[in-house]
């Protein structure tokens, strides 16, 4: 099965490989055995590339052979090029020849096997291969009289180190985050899952950018059909550029018209590893620390990695806090509008009296207040995010003062509305993964509440709910395990069961091999007889 998949994959990769769609003959042609021809070709292809370095040298003493080394400055590790390629080529080869003498024909094999002290050396036979290698930071050695060039892996460029991701900071748990470098990211994953079943298949997407995209999955746990489906969808992307994982997300998601995300993302390798171990697929993209995870279910937004690192009781409470916050953030303006303008009879008397007192003399209807305040809040938020931190704080202070204090004292809006919007805002930060979703839902609900009150809210809920249950992420129902209900899976949704009780993977995803660990792993304290009696 997997073998077959591999075949399909390689066929697919061949299909995408950028030389196929491009008919330009000169790039596909094999290298010439004349070094001059090769040199001309390469330098003409890279015309005007000021970062290109072509180092011409003569190697050997007795029979001097023309050769050149080509690489892109900045993409290579200079010390490797100098110490492990240029120095051996110029010095050690001379010694080798001095000792025995090497024929011109064997010089290539000699260099590859004896001279180059670089980890990974490949051979390239076409001009295009040479160009691709150079572009991805490798060093190419072309020798006169040989139609085969040597490609040494010397990749090494300025990268950001592994840091704590700002979007998903934790109190307990690993603090490392993905970086912009694909290789680092795969290494981070490998370090979490030291298993040959962790497959990392790389493909290049983007006609111009040729971005490396890596599909990671755990063979044996993942549903193979899902992997094929992901590959098929990735294969269909035929675009100029992939600069961020968001590009890919929008090309492969199931419901492009929906405001709900069907592809998840994370910046933390431990989360990615956990998703892999649940049978999900992680898509790493070069150039961004954000990894995509599919299939993505709605309930994942309420799970945080820290839930699993801390003990289950508080995690369960926190999970319910998140649900509550989500509902507050989605419903509170709508309910406020509905209650004050349509159903005052449903407010408890004491509350109604104080609400009526607060609403006294405010000029706008509640729905206008709610929508207006919502917009102002979004403006403030946006202003705060993009600005440098100190200014951002100033903006939020001014905003809070203007809205919270002045507007109420001036009698422009009622104080309860400010409270409602503040609750909404704060609550939407509790579930950051879907804060955009809550904003959209909130808008829909508030508008409907303004038109129809409670009935409008309920109709909007019905619409949103039917929409949500109709969605699928890679064939997995979006709202599972709630609908269709899968009671064993609720152990990680409604509660967070202790680890020893989570013996099965989420069945909708990891049905292939559902058992994660032995049952009956509950720790038993030693019985009295073993206890140290003092």
């Amino acid at each position: 099965m997997f073998h077959k998949t591999g075949q399909i994959l390689s066929r697919l990769i061949k299909q995408w490989s950028p030389n196929k769609p491009r008919p330009a003959a000169d790039q596909n042609e094999p290298l010439s055995s004349s070094i001059q021809v090769n040199l001309n070709k390469i330098s003409s292809v890279f015309a005007n590339a000021s970062d290109l370095v072509i180092r011409q040298l003569q190697i050997g003493t007795r029979e001097q052979t023309e050769a050149f080394v080509v690489y892109l400055d900045g993409l290579v590790e200079k010390t490797i090029v100098n110490d492990n390629i240029l120095e051996p080529l110029t010095l050690e080869l001379r010694q080798a020849q001095a000792n025995g003498g090497v024929s011109r024909k064997r010089v290539l094999a000699l260099i590859k096997k004896q001279v180059l002290s670089v980890g990974q050396v490949k051979e390239a036979t076409t001009v295009q291969a040479v160009i691709d290698a150079v572009l991805s930071g490798e060093t190419v050695i072309v020798i006169d009289g040989s139609a085969v060039a040597l490609v040494a892996n010397t990749r090494g460029w300025e990268t950001r180190g592994v840091q704590e991701p700002p979007t998903e900071s934790v109190v307990r748990g690993p603090r490392e985050g993905f970086t912009e470098t694909l290789r680092t990211n795969t290494a981070l994953l490998r370090r979490k899952i030291k298993n040959i079943n962790l497959k990392l298949e790389t493909m290049k997407i983007g006609k111009q950018t040729k971005t490396d995209v890596c599909i990671a999955y755990l063979k044996g746990i993942v549903n193979d059909k899902l992997v094929e489906e992901v590959k098929r969808r990735l294969a269909e992307i035929d675009t100029d550029s992939i600069l961020e994982s968001g590009y890919i997300e929008q090309f492969i998601e199931d419901a492009p018209y929906s405001f709900l995300p069907t592809v998840g993302n994370t910046e933390k390798p431990d989360i990615a590893a956990a998703k892999l171990l649940e049978g999900r697929i992680v898509i790493l993209t070069d150039g961004t620390p954000f990894a995509l995870t599919v299939p993505y279910l709605f309930m994942e937004a309420f799970q945080s990695s820290e839930d699993y690192y801390s003990r289950p009781f508080y995690s369960t409470i926190v999970r319910w806090i998140r649900f509550t916050a989500f509902f507050l953030s989605v419903f509170s303006p709508a309910i406020y509008v509905a209650l004050t303008t349509f159903h005052p009879e449903m407010l408890p008397p004491a509350l109604l009296i104080s609400m009526a007192a607060a609403r006294e003399g405010t000029p706008f209807p509640a729905i206008v207040e709610a929508l207006g305040m919502g917009v102002i809040y979004e403006i403030l938020r946006e202003a705060g995010i993009r600005l440098p931190k100190p200014i951002g704080q100033a903006v939020s202070i001014v905003g809070a003062l203007v809205i919270g204090e002045s507007a109420v004292t001036a009698g422009l809006i009622g104080a309860p509305m400010v409270i409602v919007i503040s609750i909404t805002a704060i609550a939407s930060f509790v579930v950051p993964a879907i804060s955009d979703v809550t904003a959209v839902m909130r808008l829909i609900l508030t508008v409907m509440a303004g038109i129809f009150g409670q009935y409008g809210i309920m109709m909007a809920v019905a619409g949103i709910l039917t929409h949500m249950v109709s969605l699928r992420s890679l064939g997995v129902p979006y709202l599972s395990p709630l609908a269709p209900t899968n009671i064993p899976d609720l152990k990680d949704v409604l509660i967070r069961a202790p680890w020893w009780a989570m013996s099965t993977r989420p069945r909708v995803i990891g049905w292939h091999r559902p058992v994660r660990q032995k049952f009956h792993l509950k720790p038993e304290p030693p019985s009295d007889t073993n206890r140290d009696r003092t």
Binding site: Q454, Y455, V469
Partner: protein, 365 residues
Amino acid sequence: MLEDGRITDRQFMLLIIVSRLILSLTYLPALNSPPENQDVWIAGLLSFPVHLLLAVPAYLLAQRFKDRSIIQSAELILGKTGKIIGALYVWFFLHMTALTLRQLSCYLTSVPYPETPAPVFIIVTALFAALAVGYGVETICRTGEIMTPVVMFSIFVVIILIAKDMDLKALAPMLEKGIAPVLHGALTIAARTVEILFVTMLLPYLNQPGTAKKAMAWGIFFFIFFFTIITVSIITTFDVEQAINRTFPFFSTVRLISIGEFLERIDAVHLGIWILGLFIKISIYYYLTALGAAQLFNLQDYRPIVLPLGTIIVSLSVLQAENMVELREFTSYKVWTWYALFFITFLPLILLVVAVLRRREVQAR
């Protein structure tokens, strides 16, 4: 295949519960049916065997033609005449949808929105239901799967909160009028369970058709359980004399909830849950109408006719009755029981008998 969705037996059960139960949360015509006194809840309990009895023909018919709905199997059994029976069923589902919509709008315009014209609610609800119907039976069932537990939970909460106002003495004396009116009441309650027909329409989409019998029985059981506690709570809080006078008995009960000054006026929550539950009921009947019509005309897809059918449903719903008195009259046990019984039991029985006589079975497939 018109519909490629698959539903589980749990979804099927919950669908029956919510669809049958949800209108009992407002209208509860059982209180005005015989025995018309405090024995209504006994009638509810006794209706369980009656339910099962009434469901037998429909169930056997569905089992006999596992891959066909009643509309298709009627055609198979009776040929051209079967088309007429199929059309009758499409009409019945259409009528159910229109009637339910009308009942929704009637409640909404009676209590929370007296000044809003009723057609507004009918149109808006029908539009949203059309959205759900377009998504297919899977979506409706899944929505039901989420909402039904909420409905059931809310009933429990209401019962717990109203418990201090309940006076169980109101249930005495039991069987005041003897057993006969109670049995009549059981029949009227069972005859309102049009949801029995779900098995004839949705059995082909159950992922385990064998469990349909169990799911249906459990669904009816749960319905009766909740029906009983609802009627008991109404009768014990209002006494019989007041209870049978209520237009919306259970809502009146919910409005009485008042615990320590702060936990009161929770009818908004209840109203919301009721609207959602009713939305599911409307969606499923709307869906059955569209599906049935598509099967009747041998269409390949039911989705194009959803909105055109919606126009019929909406206008039928508006002209359903001149006023609420007429609506109440029509849905009372005197009329509705026999009308529903005709479709639930009588027609399936005829079809079944003919099918047995003519030995039509699944062989045609």
